[in-house]
Symmetry: C2
Subunit: 537 residues, 2 copies
C-alpha cells in the first residue's frame, strides 16, 4: 500500500482556497496510486485560524467544505483521506483528524495534548480529546497523534511513558503524526533526532506530515518525515516547499536500502525560510510588489536582496530618502545595491519636508539635535513609504533586525512602519551571515555596506556603538536573556560585564511597549515568539 | 475574627513597588484589628506579569520578596496573610496562594483551573494545581479557590457539581476567592448574581478579593465582595479604587442587618474605568502629562475631557493641526473645547508640511485626492504629536473608537499613533453616551461637536456615512459578530440588510492587520480582547 504525505501550504482562514489545494494534492496522490493521503493538522482551515474558530458562521462553512467539498472526492472508491479539521462532537469543538473514505466522513482522533503557546493557544478554541487511537492500515495497526507536543515537546529524547509507548502497547506498528509545526533555526535537526529515537525505541514506523508556508510571520517548514521501525530516515520532504511524498507502507517494516542523511541546517535554511515568508505574505494578502527604504546600510540591503529572490527584481522598488545628515558614501552604496539587484529606484530627499516640520515645531526653526528630531527623520521616511504603498499598492518591507528591535533602537511609526518585518527575528550577526550567503555567487550586497560600522545616520557621525555595546556582545546577551531566560547573574557568570548586562536588560524591558506595535515579523530564530511583558518604568 | 480584604493596585512586574503596596495594606489591616489579610491572585507580581514569569531571575526576585520582604511583616505574631504569588514546588511553577504567618511561608493552594484567555494564557507559565483545599479559620473551615474561572466561568448560575460544592461537602462554610478579574461593562452585575446563587445553594459565605487598576489596557475593577451563607451581599469594595474592606467572620453565618443593593452599571462605570485606565497607564509608565490632537470632533473631545478628569487640566495639552480641508467650524469647536476644559493648546497648521510632501510625491505637486493623501494628513499629525511626546515627555492619547478601528476606518501611523487608545474598545454610540455623561454638570464637550455628523475631514465635505453605514446600524452588527460570534446569516435574521452585513464583515476581516499595530487600548466593553485572525485577502 502506498501512502501519500501531502505537505501543503494552506492559507489560514481561506477555506475556498484550501479546498482547491487539498483537491489538487488528492488528485496527484490518486494518479500516483496512493491508497491513503494524509494532510497536516487542521489543513482544512490552515493553521492558525485564530479567533475565526470562535465564529459560528466560520464553523458552518468548515462543515460545508468537509461534507460537500471534500467527501465527494472520495465517493468513487478513490484513495482515503486523513485530514485535520475543527470538528464538533457532543457540543464540543475538537482539533480533529477525519477519515474520509467512500464519500463518508468519520472523526478518528481528537487532539489530546493541546498546544498552549502564544498564537497556538488551542485551549481558547478546543476541548481536549481522548487517548490516542489506532486505525487499521492494510495489515497494520496505525496509531494517530495530532500535533507536535505529544511527540516532541516532552523532552529530547521523549520520556519513555509518552503516548507513543501507549500506542505501541496497543499494537501500533506505525505512528501517523499530522502536525503544523513552526520552524525556527536549528529545530529540524533536534526534531529528527528525537523522532528517530522514538521510532527505534518503540519499534514503530513514524509518518510526520507537516504544514508548509508562512502565516502572518509564522513559518511552517514542511520537511515532513518518514522513519522505519529501526528509526532510519526513509524520506524527508523538501523544506519550505509544497510537496507530495509517497511512502510504501511495507518499507517501514524492513531495513532501509538507502538512509537519508541527517539534516544540516545552514544559512541556506534561514534564506529559504525568509524567502518563503516574503512570497507567502504578499501572495496571501494579494500584493505582488514590495517597496524598501534603502539607507546604504546592511539591513535594508539584505531585505531588498531577499525581496528580489522572493518576488523578482521587477517587483521590488528601492527608495532612497537621504537627509542632510546622510553621508555621501551611503547614497553611493544604496545606488550600487540598486544596480547589483537590477531594481527600480526613486531618490526622494527629505530635506524640504524636514525643514517644514522643523520650522513649525522648533521656535525659530533652529535644530535641537535631540531624539525628537532623530525620530522625525525616520517618521518622514515611514510616511513616504506608506504613501507609495497606499497609492501604488506596494507592500512596505521594514528592515529592523531583532537586536535593535529588542533594545528599542528603532522608531515607532518610522522605520517600524510597514507590512512585514523581514529581519525582525534575526540577530544582527546573522544578518551579516545572510549578507555573505546572498553574495555567494556574485556581489549583490556591496562590500562597503558589509564592512562599514553600522549606523542609523540620524545625526552627523552617529554610530550604533555609541549607544549600544558591539553586536558580538549584544547578541549573545539577548539570546541568553530572551531565549534561555537566564537571570542577570547567570548571564554575568558567562563572562559579560555587569554594567553591560544590566543596561541591556533594562533596555529590553523598557522597549516592551514598542514590541506591541511591530508589524508581523518572520519568526525564524526564536523558540518563543512575540514576547509579552508588562510595560512599566 | 476580623478579616481584611486588600483590594490593591499592584503594577505587573514591578516587585519593589508591589512589596510597598502590600506592606501598606498589611499595616492598615493590623491597625484595624484584623486577624487575617487576604490579597488578590498573584498580588506579589501583579497580574498579568506575562513572559517575565519565564525568567529565572524574576522568579528568584519573587522568592526574595516573599521570604525577606513579606514574611518578616508577620514575624511578631501580627495578622496572617493569604497572598497570591507564583511559587515553585517539585520543579513546577504554580499560581499559588501562600499563607504567611509568624514569619513563615506555607503554600495552601495551587490554582486548579488555569485561565486560557488571550493575555491570561496561564498554561504558558504554570502547572495546574490540585483539588481546592481548606484551611482552618477560627472555628470554621474555609475553602480556597484561586481565580475567576472555577467560580464564574462555568455558566451562570454555575453548575451544581463545581468546586464550591466539593468544598462544601468537605465541610467548608466559607469560600475564599482571591482573583484578578478584568472588568468589562455589564460584568459586575452578572458576577454578583452568580456568586449569590452559589453562596445560597451551598450555604457558604463567599469572600472575593479582586485586583484593582489598569495594566496595559486591561482594567481590573476591584468591587471585591462578601456574601453571607444566605447569599446576601454584605459588602462591596468601591469599584476602580484601592480599598481595605473589613469583614467579621461571624457575620457570614447570620442574617444580614443591612443588605447591599444589587449593582447598577451605568455610564459612570465606563467613565470611572476609563479614567482609572488613563491615570494608571501614565503613572505606571512614569508619565505625568498627556497630549491629544483635537479635531473638533467628538472622539478627541471625549478623550481630552477624560484626560482632564484623570490627570488634571494642567497636565493635558490639546494640539490643533488643521489642514486646508478642515472646515472653520471644526477649529472653532476645538477652541471652544480647550476653553471649556481650561487646557493649554497649540495651533499647528499642517499646510506647509503637506505641500512639502505633495511636491515631492505628486508629479508637478498636483493633488490626486486619493487614499494616499488622506492618510498623509493623518500621518503628518501623528508625527507632530510624537515629536511633542519625544521632546517634552507627553504621552500621546489616541482617539479612535472601536467602531472605526474594527472596520479599519483609521490610519496606521496616523491617528493610530500613540501610547494609549483610550476609546479603542468603545463603540461610537457609547462615545456619545460618555459625552453626555461628561456634560452632566456643565457643558464640557461643545454641543455642536456632539450634534454634527461625524467626519474624518480628510477631504472637503467628507462624512463617515459616505463610507460606512450609520452607527446605529454598524454598532449592533459589530457586537453580534465580534462579541456573540454570530454568522452573517444569523445577523441578517436579526433584521439587518444582507448587503450591509456582508460589507461590514468583510471590512472587519480585512482590517485584521491593523489590529496588530494598535497601541494598548482600554478594554472596557468586550468580553474578548484583542481579536486575532489570520490576515489574507
Amino acid at each position: 500500500m502506498k501512502i501519500a504525505l501531502a505537505q501543503c501550504n494552506p492559507t489560514a482562514g481561506n477555506l475556498a482556497r484550501n479546498r482547491e489545494i487539498i483537491a489538487r494534492f488528492y488528485r496527484s496522490a490518486r494518479r500516483a496510486g496512493a491508497g491513503l493521503v494524509i494532510f497536516p493538522e487542521l489543513a482544512v482551515t490552515g493553521y492558525p485560524a485564530g479567533d475565526l474558530l470562535l465564529n459560528r458562521g466560520f464553523q458552518k462553512e468548515v462543515d460545508g467544505i468537509i461534507h460537500t467539498g471534500l467527501a465527494p472526492l472520495t465517493g468513487d472508491g478513490g484513495p482515503s483521506m486523513l485530514i485535520g479539521a475543527p470538528y464538533e462532537s457532543n457540543n464540543h469543538l475538537y482539533n480533529s483528524l477525519l477519515l474520509i473514505k467512500n464519500g463518508r466522513v468519520k472523526p478518528v482522533q481528537f487532539k489530546e495534548t493541546l498546544a498552549s503557546h502564544r498564537y497556538f493557544n488551542e485551549n481558547l478554541y478546543f476541548a481536549a480529546g481522548r487517548e490516542p487511537s489506532t486505525i487499521q492500515l492494510g495489515d497494520q495497526s496505525a496509531g494517530i497523534i495530532i500535533g507536535e507536543r505529544a511527540v516532541e515537546a516532552c523532552g529530547n529524547p521523549p520520556p519513555p511513558d509518552g503516548p507513543v509507548k501507549r500506542l505501541a502497547l496497543k499494537g501500533a506498528t506505525v505512528l501517523i503524526n499530522p502536525t503544523a509545526s513552526r520552524y525556527y533555526y536549528g529545530r529540524q535537526a533536534a526534531r529528527e533526532k528525537g523522532l528517530a529515537t522514538l521510532a527505534k525505541r518503540h519499534q514503530t514506523g513514524i509518518l510526520v506530515v507537516n504544514q508548509v508556508g508562512s502565516q502572518d510571520g509564522l513559518l511552517f517548514g514542511g520537511a515532513s518525515l518518514a522513519f522505519n521501525r529501526r528509526g532510519e530516515l526513509l524520506s524527508r520532504g523538501t523544506p519550505f516547499k509544497e510537496e507530495l511524498l509517497l511512502i510504501n507502507l511495507s518499507s517501514l517494516a524492513g531495513s532501509a536500502p538507502k538512509v537519508v542523511p541527517p539534516v544540516q541546517e545552514d544559512t541556506g535554511w534561514l534564506f529559504n525560510g525568509l524567502k518563503l515568508g516574503i512570497t507567502d505574505y504578499l501572495e496571501k494578502n494579494r500584493f505582488t510588489r514590495a517597496v524598501v527604504g534603502l539607507s546604504g546600510g546592511i539591513d535594508s540591503a539584505v531585505v531588498a536582496a531577499l525581496a528580489v529572490e522572493a518576488l523578482g527584481a521587477e517587483n521590488v522598488l528601492g527608495v532612497l530618502m537621504p537627509s542632510p545628515y546622510s553621508p555621501a558614501p551611503s547614497i553611493e552604496d544604496a545606488l550600487l545595491l540598486v544596480k547589483n539587484l537590477s531594481i527600480a529606484h526613486r531618490l526622494l530627499p527629505i530635506e524640504n519636508i524636514f525643514h517644514a516640520f522643523s520650522s513649525l515645531l522648533n521656535p525659530g526653526g533652529k535644530l535641537n539635535w535631540d531624539l525628537a528630531e532623530e525620530n522625525l527623520q525616520a517618521r518622514i521616511r515611514g510616511t513616504i513609504l506608506m504613501f507609495i504603498s497606499n497609492r501604488e499598492h506596494y507592500l512596505v518591507l521594514t528592515t529592523g533586525n531583532r537586536s535593535e528591535l529588542a533594545v528599542g533602537y528603532s522608531t515607532l511609526y518610522g522605520d517600524m512602519a510597514g507590512g512585514l518585518a523581514v529581519l525582525g527575528d534575526l540577530p544582527k550577526l546573522q544578518v551579516y551571515e545572510l549578507a555573505h550567503y546572498l553574495n555567494r555567487n556574485r556581489e549583490l550586497i556591496p562590500r562597503r555596506t558589509i564592512e562599514k560600522p553600522p549606523s542609523a545616520e540620524l545625526r552627523p557621525g552617529q554610530k550604533d556603538e555609541d549607544s549600544l555595546p558591539p553586536y558580538p556582545v549584544l547578541d549573545p546577551i539577548l539570546r541568553l536573556y530572551l531565549e534561555e531566560n537566564l537571570s542577570a547573574g547567570e548571564i554575568m557568570a558567562r563572562g559579560y560585564a555587569e554594567e553591560t548586562v544590566i543596561e541591556i536588560l533594562q533596555l529590553v524591558e523598557r522597549a516592551g511597549y514598542k514590541q506591541r506595535q511591530v508589524p508581523p515579523r518572520l519568526w525564524i530564530t526564536s523558540p518563543a515568539i512575540e514576547r509579552r511583558t508588562p510595560s512599566f518604568r
